[in-house]
Symmetry: C2
Subunit: 651 residues, 2 copies
Amino acid sequence: MGHINHPSCNESRYRLQHDPRDKYKMIPRRKHNASSGSLPPPDDKHASNDYILSDSGSNEGWRAIIKRRLNRKTLHKRIPITAWLPKYNTEKAIGDLIAGITVGLTVIPQSLAYSNIAGLPPQYGLYGSFLGCFIYIFLGGCRAVPAGPTAIASLLTWQVAGGVIEKAILLNFLTGLIELLMGVLGLGFLINFVSGPVSSGFTSAVALMIATSQVKDLFAITVNGTTFLQQWISVFKNIHNASLWDPILGFICIALLLSMRKIGMLKLGEKCPDGPSTRQKVLTKCMWLLGTCRNAIVVILTGVLGYWFVNTKGSSPVRLMGAIPSGVPVPTVPPFSYVRSDNTTADFVDMVSELGSGLLVIPLIVLLEDIAICKAFSGGKTIDATQEMIALGLVNLGNSFMQAYPGGGSLARSVVSNGSGVKTTFNGLYTGLMVILALQFFTQYFEFIPKAALAAVIISAILFMVEYDVVKPMWRAKKLDLIPGLTTFVLCLALPIEMGILTGVVVNIVFILYHAARPKFSVEMLKTDHGVEYLMITPDRCLMFPSVDYVRRLVTKCATSNSVPVVIECTHIYSADYTAAKSIEQLTADFHARQQPLYFYNVKPSVCSIFEAVAKPEHFVVFYEDDELDRLLAADERLAPHKPPPPPLNA
Amino acid sequence: MGHINHPSCNESRYRLQHDPRDKYKMIPRRKHNASSGSLPPPDDKHASNDYILSDSGSNEGWRAIIKRRLNRKTLHKRIPITAWLPKYNTEKAIGDLIAGITVGLTVIPQSLAYSNIAGLPPQYGLYGSFLGCFIYIFLGGCRAVPAGPTAIASLLTWQVAGGVIEKAILLNFLTGLIELLMGVLGLGFLINFVSGPVSSGFTSAVALMIATSQVKDLFAITVNGTTFLQQWISVFKNIHNASLWDPILGFICIALLLSMRKIGMLKLGEKCPDGPSTRQKVLTKCMWLLGTCRNAIVVILTGVLGYWFVNTKGSSPVRLMGAIPSGVPVPTVPPFSYVRSDNTTADFVDMVSELGSGLLVIPLIVLLEDIAICKAFSGGKTIDATQEMIALGLVNLGNSFMQAYPGGGSLARSVVSNGSGVKTTFNGLYTGLMVILALQFFTQYFEFIPKAALAAVIISAILFMVEYDVVKPMWRAKKLDLIPGLTTFVLCLALPIEMGILTGVVVNIVFILYHAARPKFSVEMLKTDHGVEYLMITPDRCLMFPSVDYVRRLVTKCATSNSVPVVIECTHIYSADYTAAKSIEQLTADFHARQQPLYFYNVKPSVCSIFEAVAKPEHFVVFYEDDELDRLLAADERLAPHKPPPPPLNA
């Protein structure tokens, strides 16, 4: 290849039908002529120049940004209540009232049970179930998210804080702070790195862990160990100490709960030719209510039983919850130090280092769960993840002043809320008020609730969180995705749970890196119009540093085993970096040394400018039209000594 | 959108001009009809069906694999001497002899100096400079790699082993083992994750660190500290203790070395019209020899000076190297324990944990340097990275039995070797023999070499390793790539050097992940032949889990602000995963809920099957030809209630 007059990179000649812009921004109603759209794409007869896309405002001034951020739309976005409150009406109010009360009936037994998972006294679950609901009314973006304790957050709190109240409260405070920061700094994209399989593996493992943690209450035995395996070994060692009545009550409760759940899902008269009758509809609604309030029903019934035993027999054959301090907690600054069991004092730095990676994992998991709920109940609307982070951050911060441990949106309650016809986040008011009433007036009755009944409530809810049903579609869709999923599942059971999910994420990131490192190729032997054979090599993705050596090796291998001119088809190379450019430079120099022609076809202008900045211009030849290739080959053959010279061209 | 008779995924209908195969394997002379090539691509008039590409032999039996691995080609690949030795002749022998001796003259002073960088007695550098050369003759793939101590490996050895001989030798043993393992397990792709900018930043920082480490010998002062900054602070604190003659000798030597280097690069008579005359050629060759042997010349001259001072004046005004034990080391098993300075014994596990991340970094860096050299001197040939790993692994393993510390291919010596007309790896024999001769007979003379002269040798060589000249092309090519480069540079100077490069690699991986998480889009408003407006959304890369939420949000945003049918153009989506499929399922369900039609255009069959495994078939509609769109739209409009029904079709 010599110094021929080769065509250079040309914005208007790059032939990608729909040229992806560097930055994206919608301009809904304004016609915008994108520069690469000025030339109609050659083979799309429907193409128009009406790009509704422009470069993002990277050249926008600070003043414009501030102005843009302070308008009414932003207010509605950041304080969603300002958007829906003016349109609030009686119909919505009724929907919210019913949903709020139903959720309240669910959240009270759940809070008592979940605080047991977190290894904390039962009232701490209730402490986290009212203020957050009030905050979420103003800031929340999803009507079906009742903020409060969740099973996953409770288990993580237990693993991270180890049942130390001060640590759990500080963890909640810091979780809120980190969520808020992530929202403000736009770090929400981090949760995208938890893929579907990892998330499923994690949730399933957590469900099994939580069920395991309840076995001790179900059988009224002592269980040691932190991992899944250790706990089950301990269960089998101590099972002979089990009481008789606790498991009997527990299993009866489980059977009751599962039956009520089943009844709640029944729909009478669905298959009738004229649809359900009014009576059938009412009955269906009642059964639904029975299913929805099953936790409350079981807890109240067994609580009455416990009360009766204590008041008539003097003691109960099953273990009861015991005294719960009554009253709404006084707002207190979260504790920044605590006294360890060996009487040494742990200061703030000690506490933070003891919380460790939990400080990263808990905010992420809480957000992950919350955003999954928002997506499930969005009904096709866009979810503002940033707003959810800010809202949840403030919810957790607020709750930490009420001595609550970390929580968030719970899927179980969201299903109830959505099923009860929730209209806006206003339903949280009723839920919160019910919790306050419970704290103020009913705690003395809670002490009669049998522990086995609460364990039954948790177990019969949590088992449906084991996502065994994702395995089949995953197997059909992409078998490789089972690896991160199963890795996460097994490691979450075997290791501390936050290490399990982090490892799963890392395994999944390795997949992406492998993807980046090993592009796929097609290699074809083609002929030009003039009958000259050439090799067309088409990589299918961008050139980034992990892949460039592989690409160079592969192209060299193809080229040396077929000593014909080589064309690299660059349509799919949407991006490149300096390392890629260096490698392309070496490649062109290698071809030059072998006197084998090398051309680049249809290089995207932004990629071309990267290559041109490094490669020698006389080695780096780009063309955009098929017929240019013949001219280039003819010009090169005159220079190559090992081939007979073709007739001179008139070009 | 209802239950319309939509077209399904079809291998032969996917319109990617050059369909990248899932696996790649060249079949040089056999015509192979790829299944997707059976239909000529519609708009490439030169396309042929002669794919020289097939699926890789994943269905190949073990017997076939073993057979394939045991043939003559594999023998030549794995023991390269079997390939070139039968063709060895006198011309090659002379080239190798000259190159081997020249490299020998370079490696002896370098070895003495580099072992000082590693914080070890000078003879340990020589111990690593002969056996490796012999091993590399048989296994090495690049003629211009003289295996021996290198500046970078020496600095890393010092940072990791801290000048403890036993740890340095064990490190060499384990480095060899890990390199061998990486070669056998095909983990060589890991070095691809060290990008050009990171590599440049690392090399430059190492060069400055090495130069800094020599300041103490140049001024004959004591310098404390491990990081760059600490060392320079210590230098300025102690500079008043500097001796007079050491720096004078040192700077004279530096001046001499730089001048000789310059002279060696001169080429007389290059600009004469008839080229250089014979006398000019001879003179050029002599000057080149002067430049090449400059280190040996300076070391010998100053050594003679030291000898003269000691033998006539009784002592030397400059610090000398001191006694060096003579003789070739007896092969010994590497030490698996050592006695610490506080008289406690560190066993193998202690040593390994003390070596820490160095065990990962040193093999990688040694390989990185070696493969960079191979690439630079390959002359366009493919480099077998696996073979290099195996060769270097055995070189280091062998050297560790000679009590040497880690080493590899050194760029400085490779330049000399290549310039001396090396033909095969056989030149290593002469280099190795010279080192053995030096060890056996000349060590008693080495003790008179002034330390300042060796420091000058290192400094005047190492300063050219600072890659300030890559900043400009990097700036022109891709400014963003300066970030990992500068991060690595700064962190290598500020932190332990292996932490610096690891952080640089992580920063660079974050770039890839961001890339994977944020695909670019083009959005166009187009019209079908029948005049129906639709939105064409074209993502530019694959759908993997970090990006799917972003894609869904963006598509939803575009679709809700323009309530027209949406077409997602999937030509560039070369791959997808389960999380993407789940997101696509949600997206199709969302569109269905909004009664807005959504179609997928030109989906690659492998991607299509992933989506179809998860999405509801009646929601997931794919088409491959432009004219199908009108039919689909017409069918959907009949079902959508918010638009007037079009006239019935005759289809």
